[in-house]
């Protein structure tokens, strides 16, 4: 198994002096390609910060992040944007979708950034929406969908760019337990079918049970790393 995500003494601090907060404190982590990993821990443990640093959404205070062997923590902003576009899919906790675009247009958006032809975008978007069970919702805007449906569209969008890694930051936080479980099962299904590496954060124990690997964070450090 090849290592697809590697963090080396990764730290992120906010503030200075007496008011400095160590959101992450020297985290070393390796995740293999194709893994389905849950980052767990209480609120404020650094789950979101870790995912943001892995995804290049934030710069570390110290340490490095390597994705597919590339040192993303040292990339220029433009190159990092392009790297995210082509290799990383994101599913955020809430407000994932662009409100003025339909479900289909939201899925196509990432492919638009990749300059794919219109016909290809359209065909792929409809295909992916069908695979998440939302082909009939293609022309609806986010406000016309339930929370669970919106998250499914977010999964579809994340997959549309054919990424190597999908990072999901508490994707089930605003969903009821059944809908949340269904979403995790969907992500697991895609993980097993396509081999895309999934890393998601959660503090829901029922969701944790579905992950193959659990990395527990406490106060910005890894306290446990369990393969289930």
């Amino acid at each position: 198994m090849t290592v697809i995500i590697k963090t080396d003494k990764l730290s992120r601090h906010y503030g200075k002096g007496n008011v400095m907060v160590k959101a992450l404190d020297g985290v070393d982590l390796e995740i293999d390609s194709g893994e389905f990993t849950a980052i767990v821990g209480p609120s404020g443990s650094g789950k979101t910060t870790l995912l943001q640093l892995i995804g290049g959404l934030d710069k570390p205070t110290s340490g490095d992040v390597y994705l597919k062997g590339t040192k993303v923590s040292a990339m220029a902003p433009g190159a990092l944007s392009d790297f995210r576009r082509d290799h990383i899919g994101f599913i955020f906790q809430a407000f994932n979708l662009i409100p003025v675009l339909t479900a289909q247009e939201n899925v196509e958006y990432i492919m638009l950034l990749q300059n794919r032809p219109k016909a290809e975008r359209h065909e792929k978007a409809m295909s992916i929406l069908e695979s998440v069970g939302l082909k009939d919702m293609a022309s609806r805007r986010p406000a016309e969908m339930s929370g669970g449906q919106q998250q499914r569209v977010a999964v579809a969008r994340a997959l549309a760019s054919e990424p190597d890694i999908i990072l999901a930051d508490e994707p089930t936080a605003n969903l009821d337990s059944k809908t949340g479980a269904d979403l995790i099962d969907l992500m697991k299904e895609f993980n097993e079918k396509s081999g895309v590496t999934f890393v998601f954060s959660t503090h829901d124990t029922k969701i944790m049970e579905r992950a193959k690997r659990l990395v527990r964070l406490v106060d910005g450090r890894i306290s446990e790393d369990i393969r289930q």
């Binding site: 943001q52 995804g55 959404l57 934030d58 710069k59 902003p77 433009g78 944007s81 392009d82 995210r84 576009r85 082509d86 994101f90 955020f92 407000f95 994932n96 662009i98 409100p99 003025v100 675009l101 958006y109 990432i110 638009l112 950034l113 969008r157 760019s161």
Partner: protein
């Protein structure tokens, strides 16, 4: 439609009320500028008409040294031939020769100094408003020997009625001898111009030449230009026709430079006002755009996270501004067009009927005019300014990092 344009169009209609109010702000600015431009054009037209058609004409021919001291000795020799040649120039509507001398105008009750014009009434009625200015009595005829018209204020000063005697005293320019002639008041004139109404008298062209003992000469040849002709072009053609000859040909703007200066200042003032007005509009627009951006911080964070470049976010905000500018301009064109139409039809009367501006009496309503500028330069200026106003908010959006944008929104 490009992806950014589509996204921008949908974004600005997220909050329809706010977008409408913003477009109304932009449009109102444009409408005000259109109205003021129309008003300035109407006022300019009226002032030029007042200056030229009251008495001056759109151009005049003199002997080169005449205007320095208004010395009647410097006259246009062979005036009839000059008149005939001037009439041949395309765009010239009418030509009227005049004698002119400064002299004493006396009645049995009083005396005053003034300008004594010798006019050809047939020609003069096509160049100036002398016929319309007649308020009492009758117009002099071409060969009238003793008829005189005077301004109504001069009539008051001299205490004369129709038919009363007036004696004109002037110096014959060539001999230097004093010439006196007796006339009878045939009518009063009211030009609504202080100088004309109080200091001018009019006799026939023939009588004027006889008074000055200068047969065939005129001190002034006034020219009116056809309304549809370009004044600058016609005056240039007239100057070319008489180039190298012993005459001076001047356009009205050279004859009345103070009025020309005021009109030029008005135009400059209009653009100053436009800049100030649109700075104020821009401040409102910047505030609106910032509000809109702050509401979408998280969304921008998601877009950046997905791989949207900062430059694309920058251009998105600028596109939103441009679309607001376009819609605002369309609204403004409608409002400004209506306002100008109303004023073009009904006019605006300043000062309850009579007011003075730059030495001219404005007794008529000002009618707004449409111009190409109102429908091209001004709206384009609005759209460009709207985009410029969005640059600061756009830079703010482009400088967001995904994590900070999502954090600020929580």
């Amino acid at each position: 439609m490009g992806s950014n344009t589509k996204l921008a169009l949908r974004n600005i209609f997220r909050n329809k009320r706010r977008t409408f109010l913003t477009c109304l702000l932009v449009g109102s600015g444009l409408a005000i500028m259109m109205f003021v431009d129309g008003l300035m054009l109407g006022m300019k037209d009226m002032m030029i008409s007042k200056v030229t058609s009251t008495w001056l004409g759109e151009a005049e021919i003199h002997a080169p040294q005449f205007r320095r001291d208004m010395d009647a000795a410097f006259s246009v020799v062979g005036a009839d031939e000059v008149v005939r040649r001037a009439e041949q120039v395309p765009g010239v509507e009418a030509v009227a020769p005049r004698t002119l001398v400064t002299g004493m105008i006396s009645s049995s009750g009083n005396a005053t100094g003034g300008a004594i014009f010798g006019i050809d009434p047939q020609r003069e009625q096509n160049v100036s408003r002398i016929n319309e200015a007649l308020t009492a009595g009758h117009m002099i005829t071409a060969n009238a020997r003793q008829d005189i018209l005077i301004g109504y204020k001069m009539a008051d000063l001299l205490d004369v009625e129709i038919g009363d005697r007036i004696v004109l005293t002037a110096t014959e320019p060539l001999s230097g001898e004093i010439a006196q002639s007796l006339y009878f008041v045939s009518g009063f004139l009211r030009f609504n111009d202080r100088a004309m109404d109080s200091s001018t008298a009019f006799i026939s062209y023939a009588a004027g030449q006889k008074l000055l003992a200068m047969p065939g000469a005129a001190q002034e040849i006034a020219i009116s230009i056809h309304p549809s002709a370009d004044q600058d072009v016609v005056v240039a053609n007239l100057k070319e026709s008489f180039a190298g000859e012993n005459v001076e040909l001047l356009g009205w703007w050279e004859l009345a430079p103070d009025v020309a200066s005021i009109l030029a200042m008005q135009e400059f003032g209009l653009w100053i006002m436009a800049v100030i007005l649109f700075i104020l509009v821009s401040l409102g627009l910047i505030n609106t755009m910032f509000m809109s951006i702050f509401e979408r911080h998280y969304e921008f964070g998601v877009m950046l996270g997905l791989g949207t470049r900062s430059s694309k976010l920058f251009s998105l905000i600028c596109w939103e501004g441009a679309l607001i500018g376009v819609f605002g301009a369309l609204l403004g064109l409608g409002m400004g067009g209506l306002a100008n139409s109303w004023s073009a039809r009904y006019g605006i009367l300043f000062g309850k009927g009579t007011s003075e501006f730059a030495g001219l009496t404005l007794s008529e309503p000002v009618f707004n005019q449409f111009s190409v500028t109102q429908f091209t330069s001004l709206p384009a200026f609005v759209v460009v300014l709207t985009v410029l106003a969005c640059i600061i908010p756009a830079i703010h959006a482009a400088r967001l990092t995904p994590s900070s944008a999502m954090r600020r929104a929580i």
